[in-house]
Every structure is written in structure tokens, then in C-alpha cells.
Symmetry: D5
Subunit: 98 residues, 10 copies
């Protein structure tokens, strides 16, 4: 399944309620599962982003639905990147360098 | 086929050779075709970006290969966005609002 | 008819009500039609912009009216670029390189 | 004829040769005229931009050709805005507030 | 009289009330006149700024007073640039290159 | 072992030689291994970053050494974030909310 | 113990209550101590940041917990950097240049 | 005479030759004098700007000529602000609040 | 006494009450005096900053106290730069080039 | 003695020669000592800055000389903040809140 890297920053609301961030991540995990995708991993990070999530989804639509839902709650602002692994990148380079 | 919106800015090299920008766009069109994707449309724009291209590709990999190849030539810097049409967005909202 | 590419970002209000984004796009389509322009296409995108719209309008005025009206509703902030197709660009280059 | 406001910043090359900026503006004036447009006014400015030019052109294409040509010379980087006068804006508001 | 180019962006309040922007510009014109300056021209623009105004004023003070007053109303944020015409710039270059 | 998320952008040199990006990633993997760390995963991404790497290292020092070495080669600019998994974050919240 | 440099900016709330900033820093010192870390030093600074804090903590988790707690109070926004001393850096370089 | 505040940043060239910055400032002082203006004061500063200069000039033209000349040398990039003293500002406010 | 250049921008609150800016500056002058420093000069400026103040203070502490107090009122956001005159800079260069 | 926090970023030159960063830091330490200041501590950091240095100097002049000299070498770009400890800040607050 395609992978997506999502970079998240807490909103003011999100920082104030940092104590339930783990529960919120869990809720996000089940919400994502309900729509056929999978939260591979979520990291709380130190630096320009507060969290980094790895999501697998059957397709771009499902991944986008998952992040749209999360954004609507109001605790985070998200930036999503489609992510290719090594095999996918080999194919991409082969095609690009054709 | 999935659609992609690519926002392009000329590099210094790109601006100096603006005269062959149409030919370069054509070359990009055929290069894209060779790898199974399709340049739906390219617009030269007035504003924060110099060109906006609409690309259809069988999958994210092919789209990425097309833009990687273009970036390697050195005339433009690109930012690519996966783009969903209305039907796709209806499904996405249905999933998100589930 | 001239073409315009509009890059849109949701305001906080826009993200909270993401569920009616498709209906809002439709409403925008009819509003645009009422003033003689045409919403060629709207894409919901993943990346630095939330939506990208392609609008055709008889002239710059009409295009600007359409986006002014949309901005006034408060769900999005817009950046509009005049967009030229290949033929137009050929003429432009001919003139520039004259 | 439609009006365009162009905001210009000198490149390093442009600043070093500031002494011939007036001549360059003149040359730009005649180049613009050759393609059917008109340099209404050019101002050298103190602030975030080094020059502001007001150009009238029969259409967007011609205006874009004029600025493309100027950018290719390498002394300035330009940002062009389509500009509406009061009458045009009255029509635009009438359409938008329809 | 010296000329000034003012670049204006609507605040949220300004966008919501876009319908009375023409009247507001008119009011600005008369307010400017009352203090001895002149609104040469105002353009509504498409791009990084919403309006561009050309103001003539007997001196920098009057120009600054005009824009201070406008800013205080709360519909726009302004950036003002002192603007020199060709003759002024010839003198400036002569002095600089002296 | 602690985890680190590294966000990478190609330099001009990096983009020009995109064809050997996979090999470079492999080389990075072995270089990282030599100093006792592990390249868990590397993704080529579409969006504000060109690659995202997940690195496990016995300690911050080793992780920093790995990225310092990579930066010195000149193909990428990197931003590294220390990343905590769920368990670690539970402990962190417990401590913070103490 | 590992060291961390934290760069802090006051929020609007933080600036309004600048008078109790020293007490807040003290409170932060004891809060940090309660979770096994140590506020080595705090500087109020003149420039792009309002404060710079040096924190020692047994591990990244504890340091992150300390700053998470501080951020939740709402007076500051923080950016934390893992910091290596000379010995650590010698080891890092040795590993990197290995 | 009107006053101008100029904010200056060293270019790479400027930093490398920091040793002759005082002489360069002196040269700037005499150059400014030659065209009828006066370098009231120059400060070398610690923060977002490397120098701040206070220039008095008979008019905007002369001030602009002085800074244009300085920029052309290539050691600094300048931003110039017209500056009003208290009396001027009283008049400005009187006019604005009229 | 050491000199400080402070760059000030009005907050929204500050712009709305622009009419009493001169009085506010006066109040700042006396407040500064009360703590042993001196407001050498304040300029209202046209450009990226709304005011530029020159403050002399017996030491960095007093200067910082003055600007901290001003910031707390809520009309401006300030950036303060330590400023050296020519003699100080000669000494600095002598030391640096030692 | 007053304290200064300096935030440093490597230039391209600095990154390429990362291997001798420790030696360069040492050289900076002795250079600083020669002019009567003291390098209290230098940290190599992971995040928006590559190094953070704590310098004590008899006065602002000496601190500035030290950083000017370092900048001139070309391996780093620096931002220096005057830093107050708790006692100094208590005095500052007392003065500000007077």
C-alpha cells in the first residue's frame, strides 16, 4: 500500500491540551483504520514539527480523507507528503532516466 | 487516471532562455508521454509561479518520475500537488466525515 | 476565453467546515456562471495549497469579480494567476523575442 | 487599454550598473512600444521595490511579452499585477455583489 | 509635487466588506484632498497586493498623514514607497555617479 | 534504540545527479551502519522535502555523526528531529503532567 | 548528562505579564528538577529570542517533558536543540570522518 | 533638512573586508557631503542589521542618490526609511486626524 | 553612554490609536528618563518599521528595562540593536583584526 | 562580565570542512581570549542552528570584535544576543516595573 509522511504542528488549542496527545493519536489510529488505512507509526518530535506520522493507505483518496478529518478537529495543522520506498524509487528513476 | 498540479518557477538559467520555453514544454510533453503519463495542459502564468502544469499519470510513481526528470534539466524548480476532482473529493469527504 | 489559475487555502473557518467543501465549490461554480464566467475545473490538492481552480472568463474583470465574491465568504484566501495556453505563449514569445 | 503594475527589484548585476538604469528604462519604453503596448510611467522607488512601472497593453499577452523580454536581460526580477481602474472596479463589484 | 506609490492589502475586515471598496477609495481621495495632497490614481490589482495607489503630496509629511489616516480605519495594511520620475532619477544618478 | 526523523532537500548538485539518488541512499545506509546506527527507512517524497529518512542510533551522538557525514558530501541539506514513539511519549506526558 | 539549548519567545500573554518572568523561570527550574532534569542556566536575551535556556536532562524524554510542560502554560513558544559539548563533538567527528 | 534612517546588511564581500568598514563609512560620509547631504551618524549594530545610518539630505532625491551610490559599491544591501521627528509627526497627526 | 537602536512596529492596537503616538513617545521618553536612560531621538518612519528610536543608557540592563516596559503596554513590538559609534568600532576592529 | 549567546550556522564552506569544526572552535576560543573575552561554552546543536556559543566579554565592544573576526573567516554566519542572568533580570524588571 502507498505510504504517506505527514508533518504536524500543534495549534494553540493543541498545545494547551498536550496531555491528551497520546489519546488523540490513538483516536486518529482507529479513525484511520475505519476508512481502510493504517497508521504505521507516529512520532512525537523535537524540532520544526511537533509530530511526524507514517500512514499507509490503499490510495491517495483515503490518505487525504484521514488527514482532512484530523485537521477538522482543530488540534493540528498538517502537511502531507506522498512517500516512495526504495523499490518504488528505483522504478521512478528508471522511468525518469529512461 | 490520477491528476497532478505542478507549480513551476524558472531558475536564472530558465529565465535567460525564455525564448525556448514553449519548445521545452513540448519536450516535457513527449518525455511525459514516453513514460505513460500525459501532459493535460500547461499554462504560462503571471504571478508567484511562472508555469502551472496539469499532468495525468497512471500512478504517483510515474508522475514523480516525470517531474524528477524535468527538475534535473535545470531550467525550473517544481512543487507537485496530488489533485482530486469532485467525485474523488466526494468519496474523500464521505470517508472523512464517515 | 482567457484562463485563470486560482490557488486557494482554507481559513480556520474553512477547515472546520471541510465537510461542505464540495457543495461550496458547486455554489462557486454557479455563482461564477451567473456572471458569465466558467469554472473549468476545481481540484482539491495535497501540498502547499488546499484547492486549485481553473476559471475561464470573458475578461479579467469577470474573473476578478468571481474571486472577490468567493473571498468575501470567508472560507478561503485566494491567489489568482492569469494563465496562457501554448498558442498564446507562442505569440507572447514572438512578441518578446521580436 | 488594460493597465498593469509591475514591481521590479534589481539583481546584483542591476545594482552594479545603476548608472544606466534611466537608459535601460527608456530602452524598455521603446521595446514595449514596438509590440503595441505603452509604458505609462516608471518610478524609481525607495522601499521594498527598486522600481514600479505602469504599463498599458492591448491585452494580457502583450503585457506579459514586454515583461518577459525585460526579465530575460538579467538586470531585474519582476512581479506583474493586472490593475483595474475605478470604472472597471465598479463593474467588478457589481458582478461580484450581483 | 512628489509622488508616492502605496501598496495595500485588505485586512480580514477589508475583505468581508469588499463591496464598499470603491466608496472607501473615494472617501480616501477626498480625505487626501482635504490635507492638500492628491490621489492620482488607485488600481485594484490581482496578485500579491489588493490595491496600488499613486498619491501626490506637497511633501513627505502630508503623504504620511494620508496613509496613517487610512491605516487607522482598519480595512487595509499599507506599505508606502517614495517614487521618483525620470527627471528626478536623472538628477539622482548624476548626483550618485557625480 | 532512539529514533530520528531527518528531512532532506536536494542541493542544486543533488538535483542534477538525481539518477544516483538510490545508490547514494544505499551508501548512506552502509555508512550509517559502520558507525553503529541503522537506516530504518528512507522515503523519497513529493512536497516541501525531497526525502525523509528514519534513523535509529544508539545515541544522539551517533545520529548526529551520520547526518554530519551526509551533509558534508554536498548533495543534500538536512534537518534532524529526535523522534519518540508512543511508549516514550506516555512517559514524557506522565513526567510533564506529573 | 545530555544538554539541551532551548530558544524561547514570549506569546502576547507572556509579554503582557513580563513582570513575573523571573518567577516563571524559577517555577520552570523547580518543575524541571521534579522530573530529574536541571535548569543549568536561563538568559533573558536581546534579539530574535526573548530567552535562552540551558537544560541538562538524563535523557531526551525528560528534556522534552520539561519543555512540553512549559509550552502548555501559554507564556512562551519554544524551540529545543540537542547540544553537544567538545568531547561529544570530537567523538561525533571521529565517527563521521571514520 | 529631512532625515533618513538606512538599515544596512553586509554582503559576503562586505563581511570578508570588515576590517575597512570604518574607512568605508568615512568614504560614504564624504561622498554624501559632496552631493549636499550629511551623514549625521552611523552605528555598527548587533542584531538583524549590521549598520544603521542617519542621513540628512535637502530632499529625497539627494538621499536616494547617496544610497544608490553606496549600493553600487557592492559591500552592503540597504533599506532606506524616510524619518520624521516629533514636530513633523505632530503636523502629520494633526493632518491625519484633521 | 552606550547607544541602542530600537526598531518598532505598531500592533493592531497601536495603529488604531495612531493619534496619540506622539504622546506615547513622550511618555516613553519620561519613563526612560526615570530609570536613568535617555531617549536621544525617535523617528516615525515610512517603510518596514513604523518608528526607530535611539536610546542611550548607562548599560544594557537599563536599555532592556526601558524596552521591556514599552513592549508590555501592547502598542508596539520592538527589536533592539546595540549600536556602536565610530570610535567604538575602531576599537572593535583593532581588537578583531588584532 | 556580561554574557552573550551567539547562534551560528555553517556556510557551504563550513559544512564541507565539518571535520575541523572542533579545531576551529578551539581557535575561536584562543582568539577570543587574546582580546580579553572568554568562550564559556560552545555547543554543537541539532536543529535550526549548527552551533550555540556562550561568550563572556568585558563589554559589548569586545564581544562584537570576537564575532566580527569569526564571521570574517567565512565558515559561519552569526547572530549575537546580549544575555542577562537572573540577577540582572531582577534589576531589569525592577527598573521596568518601577
Amino acid at each position: 500500500m502507498p505510504t504517506y509522511v505527514t508533518l504536524l504542528n500543534w495549534t494553540d488549542q493543541g498545545i494547551r491540551n498536550y496531555k491528551d496527545t497520546a489519546k488523540r493519536a490513538e483516536a486518529f489510529g482507529s479513525a484511520v483504520q475505519k476508512i481502510g488505512a493504517k497508521l504505521l507509526n507516529v512520532y512525537w518530535t523535537v524540532g520544526p514539527y511537533d509530530l511526524v506520522a507514517l500512514v499507509e493507505a490503499p490510495d491517495d483518496e483515503t490518505a487525504t480523507a484521514a488527514l482532512l478529518q484530523l485537521g477538522g478537529v482543530g488540534n493540528v495543522r498538517t502537511t502531507t507528503l506522498r512517500a516512495f520506498g526504495r523499490e518504488e524509487m528505483d522504478r521512478i528513476i528508471a522511468k525518469a532516466a529512461g
